[in-house]
Symmetry: C2
Subunit: 262 residues, 2 copies
DNA sequence: CAGGCATACTCGTATAGACGAGTGGGCAAG
DNA sequence: CTTGCCCACTCGTCTATACGAGTATGCCTG
């Protein structure tokens, strides 16, 4: 059992009223912040820290769990505890739905990812009619049933977001929108062909911790929140023609918006 | 020691390979989701759950810590563990910087909060010149030093966000922008008076877990992420005239944006 | 009646020990 | 040399215990 390089981590302050496991977490956090442990690097094992600080194993584990909650580290069974690497982020610009981006045959996600040199995948596509939730119904203007299009997006094999689009049945039923592949330009192109010229979108953004379901679907590490985005598309008549509910791994995204100063 | 009302929580499945503390967390989570425990309500105490499930206290605590990480519950020393109430959220609309909102003497935050029936406060105001961080410098176009305006915002006594505005010294030095009170309409009104007519804003949004510092400043419960918003204001010459770095308690905000479909 | 204290309950911190399970390297057998 | 096993090391789960500290309640004292 190799002992810890001296100087890497300090000692405990027994006179402090800060709990021991917090002091340990503080020292590890600082070492990480200072770059003493780099991204992806292994932290000292529980046993080594037990030795170094002269505390019990549960105390060391407790400090690890603090850092895990902060999203700083993640544990791998049988291997060790590692500094969580920051994945490359996907930037969502506010003009990503502009008509000029809607020409190609591929989806916006695919085009953009390939331009960034990543390997995009779409997954678990599911299209079906269902009862509208209260929230969706309210946003679409009191519809009872909707067409729901679900799918999951992955970048280089990593799930990064999953989304469900809801459309009123009177618009979508029987059209290509109800097909698994909605055709070039996606459902927005189809909506416009159907006479619903798009006027604007409204996006609502929240951030919160994921549900266990979301942790599974996005394979989230602990300490990673999700961004919950609800987009409503309005046509030029002022009618809401689509609601898209998206849950994104927060560590994989930066959203970017342009606001007029008028 | 009053025993638990039967039927409220189920039994453990010893044949399951799901860890005991996860099973307990699952049952509590489901009970909360089903409304068996309402917002703000106290969950069974650790001792009661120890009795009910016949496990050790650390196991029960472990399941509580799972729920805490999800932001579902919070513990109060000496009182119990409670279902975390959802605080009222502040909606930030994308037109919140429109000129028409800039007429009054009060700040946008104050006006909006009072309209919503809340009691707004601004706190810890600090104005000083300092060295620009690399990021701020890049956004403002390679300035070395900036005027920084820091402040914290509270709603009904609860801290909800803190923000720092950075302005190039050649614009702000010696003007009312460098005063604690920038006057009616805020610094944007002053910027326009100084000839920097605002053209548009760019906002970048991230979500992540808070640093210990941010936990202190915003008095965040565990399992509450922060929204990190960086706004850059551009004048009609295309120059970046302000960068505002804001950290918000994610459970207190919904951001809302309007995007043109063009 | 008012104030203060004792007490029982709550969660917070920490110890010591046990066993399980995933990982990877080294060694031995083929 | 390759295969396969064993073992050492890692984190995961769980038990049992102890003491500390914050909170609320009720009783007892003044």
């Amino acid at each position: 059992m190799p002992s810890l390089p001296s100087g890497l981590l300090g000692d405990l302050d027994p006179t402090s009223d800060r709990a021991v496991f917090r002091q340990i977490a503080d020292q590890l956090r600082e070492a990480i912040d200072r770059g003493r442990f780099k991204e992806g690097e292994k932290l000292p094992s529980e046993a080594e820290l037990v030795d170094h600080y002269g505390v019990s194993r549960m105390t060391v584990r407790n400090s690890f769990s603090v850092l895990q909650g902060e999203g700083l580290v993640h544990a791998e069974h049988g291997k060790g505890v590692f500094v969580r690497p920051r994945p490359p982020v996907r930037r969502l610009a506010s003009d990503r739905f502009a008509r000029r981006h809607r020409e190609q045959g591929k989806s916006a996600f695919t085009v953009e990812a390939e331009a960034a040199g990543s390997h995009p995948q779409v997954d678990g596509l599911e299209v079906k009619e269902e009862k509208a939730s209260q929230d969706v119904s309210a946003r679409l203007g009191s519809v009872r049933r909707v067409l729901a299009r679900r799918r999951r997006y992955l970048l280089d094999g990593r799930p990064v977001e999953f989304a469900t689009s809801y459309l009123p049945l009177d618009i979508a039923r029987g059209t290509q929108i109800a097909e698994p592949n909605p055709g070039p330009g996606g459902i927005y192109a189809r909506l416009e062909e159907l006479g619903h010229r798009l006027d604007h979108f409204e996006e609502e953004i929240r951030a919160r911790m994921p549900s266990p379901d979301e942790v599974r679907t996005l394979r989230l590490a602990s300490g990673v929140p999700v961004i919950h985005l609800i987009r409503t598309a309005y046509d030029t008549e002022g009618r809401a023609v689509e609601v898209c509910d998206t849950v994104m791994a927060a560590d994989a995204y930066v959203l970017s918006y342009q606001l007029p100063a008028t």
